[in-house]
Point group: C2
Chain length 441, copies 2
């Protein structure tokens, strides 16, 4: 298997390319825009994640011999198209919201500009990455918000496609998760990894005492012992007996976690293990985390609900042609006119309007109008510009990819969320926290 990302693409993109190369429209300059028409039901904001991964995948979007020979053998495209693909490099530009930024319906989170040929090919890959990663980050942000400062840890790899799991760990980190169980996410993106033992380790041993002794001998008393394989009360006794009062943490993975945490805290304190922390796992989501706010819990491990977007496993982002060069050589806005899925044509940019007194966001401003005016538009007083350059003439700009990109996105998301109006972080179903205003220039 090659590392090329070029076939992570819907066939119709190549079919369109073939027809456009044949009739001479392939070279028309085009502007594609990524946006969503709505947030998942009840959600108050979305979190953009995956931009760094899009830029990483762009570097591997090459049609090599393996890809070309398969396309030829399967008769997917003609010889002219194969020749174009062999030389394919994206030489256009991308601008967009910075990763970690909050978005709303119709926020222009990514704009791709280039010839039709070079820009249309990226549709599927760009959407796959942004739709999945943003779905996860949007759910993750609600979880870190509900945890009001307590660390939240990502443990969902087993409930997601094995590569999606790595992306989920990355998106969770962007939204403030403190660590992940996923080793590959640690390696690729520098996210701290965590993990000590499962029930299998206790069951492997002849009894719980032996298992705990083995873990402490190997990992030191600062480890986390999983105490609910048999009986939690006995488990806690044995854990402190094995590690001493310097035991790092105990983990609870079943039962009524609120009640159990109270009991275990009291038991640990009674045993003198006052600094031993309590980690809870077991089908947590943002609501369960919120419900545990008054329980003596030190950190939360989240799995299934994180990697499945807590009820919203994908965003509805689309990649739409909004402007293209016509027969007259001029860039003109275009938009589909069918009844239900209307779009607004033309290039856009955006800013967040801030209350000058509090510094808090009051509206999302989407700027549209004359192409040159939109391109030249600068946010004035009381506005924070949202659109930044990501790729300039085919060159990926520095700072967005790899571990560096994730770290910057994490800081950015925290700031963007803090800027939202008070009440924007409520978990119960409500409208988007900001309304979107259109400004024509």
């Amino acid at each position: 298997m090659t590392s090329s990302t070029a076939l992570l693409t819907d066939r119709y993109e190549l079919t369109m390319l073939g027809a456009a190369l044949a009739d001479g429209t392939a070279d028309r300059r085009c502007v594609f825009e990524v946006f969503t028409r709505r947030l998942p039901h009840g959600r108050r904001y979305g979190v953009l994640a995956g931009t760094g991964r899009v830029l990483e995948a762009l570097a591997d979007f090459r049609f090599g011999d393996e890809e070309l020979s398969w396309l030829e053998r399967e008769d997917v495209v003609d010889q002219r198209t194969l020749a174009f693909l062999a030389d394919y490099r994206f030489t256009g530009s991308m601008t967009g919201y910075a990763e970690g930024e909050i978005f709303f319906p119709h926020s222009p989170v990514l704009t791709v500009e280039g010839t039709f040929a070079e820009a249309v090919l990226l549709e599927t890959l760009v959407l796959s990455v942004l739709n999945y990663d943003s779905a996860i980050a949007s759910a993750a942000s609600r979880m870190t918000s509900a945890a009001i400062g307590r660390p939240v840890l990502e443990m969902g790899a087993r409930r997601a496609h094995e590569q999606a799991a790595v992306a989920a760990a990355r998106a969770a980190a962007v939204a403030g998760f403190a660590g992940t169980s996923n080793l590959e996410a640690g390696r690729r993106y520098g996210i701290p990894t965590i993990g000590t033992a499962a029930h299998a380790f206790t069951l492997l041993h002849d009894d719980e005492e032996t298992a705990f002794a083995a873990q402490v001998a190997s990992a030191g008393p600062g480890t986390t012992l999983l105490v609910d394989t048999y009986d939690v009360k006995r488990g806690v006794e044995r854990a402190v007996a094995a590690a001493g009062t310097g035991l790092g943490a105990v983990r609870l993975d079943s039962g009524d976690l609120g009640v159990l945490a109270q009991e275990v805290r009291a038991q640990l304190d009674g045993l003198g293990a006052r600094d031993t922390k309590i980690v809870v796992t077991s089908d947590l989501d943002e609501y369960a985390i919120a419900a545990l706010a008054v329980a003596p819990v030190d950190s939360y491990g989240v799995g299934t609900s994180l990697v499945t977007g807590s009820g919203a496993p994908t965003c509805g982002m689309v990649y739409k042609l909004v402007a293209r060069e016509g027969a007259d050589g001029r860039l003109a806005p275009v938009a589909k006119a069918s009844t239900q899925k209307t779009s607004v044509g033309g290039r856009k940019t955006a800013a967040r309007r801030l209350d000058p007194a509090t510094g808090r966001a009051v509206a999302e401003v989407v700027v549209t109008g004359d192409d040159a005016a939109v391109t030249a538009w600068q946010p004035g007083a009381g506005l924070r510009g949202l659109v930044v350059p990501l790729v300039v003439d085919g060159v990926v700009q520095p700072g967005w990819t790899g571990a560096e990109g994730v770290a910057a996105a994490t800081v950015r998301h925290a700031a963007s969320r803090d800027e939202l109006p008070r009440g924007a972080r409520r978990l119960s179903a409500d409208e988007a926290a900001l309304t979107t205003e259109t400004r024509t220039v």
Copy 2:
């Protein structure tokens, strides 16, 4: 990036391995079982998918220099564990349900046997693959069932992680989808690929006539023209004008598809394009497909709801230690005893009990008891055995992987679904279509 799958693993597996190597329990013979405690709400059966991908990933589960140096640098494990990982090869065995087979709660869909060290490492990867792929296949089977013979096409890549999308296309094929838009799925697994044009192609051109003419010139009159960019009625007129009455198909991607299909069918027939087919897309799921049963629709394209499991984006499969060699050298059943998540210890096998008169399934039979007796158990009259060898002493058995595995799983799923009791395929929420009986030997 290497092609190794070894770090698609939760850190705690390596931590447990390190402790078990230190205390001598790493070599204990173990039996791990993959099963689910329940089906998603209202679902009547699950479809096992991903087995072939597990076996493919197993071949790449190697700790190379890149993986080992990262683990060492991050101090994830000690030197003894690094040495073990450097030589890691799975030398154990796997048995399980054949891919495409239908499963129910507590069906032992996969059993992994080996030393603790070699088997515990595979937990995350095995679950990631089976949980995602089976979630997709389980949803896909309801869709192909609802389509009552009309082709269903997979078009969801843009709504899933880019690699998950390939697995989703594969799982959909197992459950009877006729094709996919995903080129990489075509290349890897030999699934037929489909796709012609998006709205962007029409918008790229100065008018719809020019766009249709270009597509027909490039792809021939047998192509599928997307007719709802502007006005469907005009679009259909222009489509037949461009391609003639031999036009392959028109695609409808918005609006009230049932009404629209009636109108478009009448219009096509009136224009003499009686053989031109109608393809519908636009947020279809199994319920929308069922609702279109009486509409003159020839095939369905499904995206979002397929790749997100139509409300159930993951299975709840777990990987549990059910038996292990004790200090006495004998294999003994083990099970966690916490309140909510009880498991049944011991190795299992399974069969489907059939009605001798009709040949239809009447119950799922899970066989448990004495380890040697379970291993030796053979299904008698009226039972169809479900458990097959997948890996024997580290050697992947032929026929399960690649395109060959997908093709066989597709045939198998159709047969297994046909064997279910009448009524098992109803879409409305209900109990599992078969009850699970436990037989002790």
